[in-house]
Amino acid sequence: MSNLGQAIHIKKEILIRIIKAFLSEDFEKQARLIPYVMRPKGMEVPYRCCVYKERAIIKDRTIAGLGFPIEEDDETVSLADYAREALEREEISDKNLTVLQAACKGCATNRIYVTDLCQGCVARPCVNSCKFGAISIVNGKSVIDDSKCKKCKMCVNACPYNAIVKVTVPCEDSCPVGAIKKDETGFASIDYEKCINCGKCTAACPFGAVHERSQIVDILKAMKSDKRVIALVAPSIVGQFPGTIYQLKTAMINSGFDDVFEVAQGADITANNEAKEFMERIEEGQDFMTTSCCAGYNQLIKKHLSEIQPFVSDTKTPMYYTAEIAKQHYPDAKIVFVSPCVAKRAEGFENENVDYVMNYEELGALFVAKKIQITELEETPFIVESSKQARIFGYSGGVAESVTMSLPDEELVKPCIINGLNKESIKTLKKYAATGKCEGGCNLVEVMCCEGGCIGGNATLNTQRIAKKAIDNLANNSQDIPKVE
């Protein structure tokens, strides 16, 4: 769950209003009115200079909610036009993120900066610490020459007065692969060749500038058509909504889905297959294997870490197996994966059995728009109940435990966990790939892109502690996973 409070609140409110507009008599008109309803004439202006700017920003956010890139908006196209275009479109884009660049204005460029606290001391540790000759003394105070500064932070650490600071750009700092940058114009933009869709920038920007391009209109359209629409809910959904997972299933059916599958059902297959594969690989003499179910990690491998591929499990993800099962049950249906993160959008796009991806925020918005009170509903069972271990796939350590518990001899495994991808952990993985060995004799590496696992995904609705409690509560009332031969 992001700590961005109001920024996230606004995004969710816009999604609710888009859904309500879709369900109204006149989608185009109601979509056009969203900025005016949210910032009516005479309202106290909450964040920006004036109500007009507030509305312009809300319009931009609504563009993302309708599934379009904000960067390409030339301001002449109305939200009514966007709404119509969303209704007419047949395809979705593989570019899942878009930046509200107007919000980047408030954010200073990434640099090292000498504050007024500089005492102009005699020792000049900052000057001495700088290997690039970037610091000189002007009028008795340190000054940094930005053209020479390499942002190594040696001077920051050297100053005894803490007078030198690194001005950070949260989106840039959060990105593990350097895919988002404030360019020379001062606006952040995403390099999609590098982006692994981890969603860390969406959660990091305090202006809420990075948006997911929603497919909610496409999903609502599918619900309105004569096709069946089937939802696959990721294991991390438990604890993200009030009530039980069985009440959640009823809520989803009441809100327009024809059936709901637990992706934990596919996680059982993933765990079993991965356990078999693990035994084979160890027998063949390989020192370690990494898991392969995290979409963010799979994107990282594809775009930045191909050298680790020989050590990555060939087993498919829980989404893959569950979508396959759902497609067998309902061959003509539209399949919607319900996800905690952006990365699964990328995986869904590549999977021929998955038509759309919606995140937990969007599902929540759908419930709110349709006035569904989950805790007051009857429970609907799942046809296949998943195992205890599959149901804990959504938190860090869960996948490793599932694989371990699937093995006839649990002693075979020495698991270790990459709990969140960042510059450091990527270095660690590179080292494992280069040496063919892990630290401490670990032979099963669970890789989770988000810290805490899927319950730390950018679109989650609850704190990790409460979410984990809810997951454990369900898991402890579930059967153990069957062991492989």
Binding site: G5, K12, M38, Q240, P242, E361, G364, Q373, I466
Partner: protein
């Protein structure tokens, strides 16, 4: 002295709009106030259906006082005020 009652709305709107983590109050309140304050989850309090709609969710009721855009800190501050802390 009568117990202060804290009702955390578990309606879908409040939960989705950021009320999920208000469940932390179930642990914090007994620890902090002992039996002076009683905390409970509640079905939808109906506050999102009045004129503010969801824009001011999540809601918590401390006795008869409505806390909108509730956070753990905000709710504790209201309780403290009532207790004269």
């Amino acid at each position: 002295m009568e117990k202060i009652s804290v009702k955390v709305c578990l309606g879908t709107t409040c939960f989705v709009m950021g009320g999920s983590n208000l469940q932390e109050l179930n642990d914090i309140i007994p620890r902090k106030y002992g039996d002076k304050v009683e905390v409970m989850g509640s079905n939808c309090l109906g506050l999102c259906s009045i004129n503010w709609e969801y824009s001011r969710a999540p809601y918590v009721k401390v006795d008869e006082e409505i806390v909108h855009e509730a956070t753990v800190e905000k709710v504790l501050a209201v309780i403290d005020k009532k207790l004269g802390n």
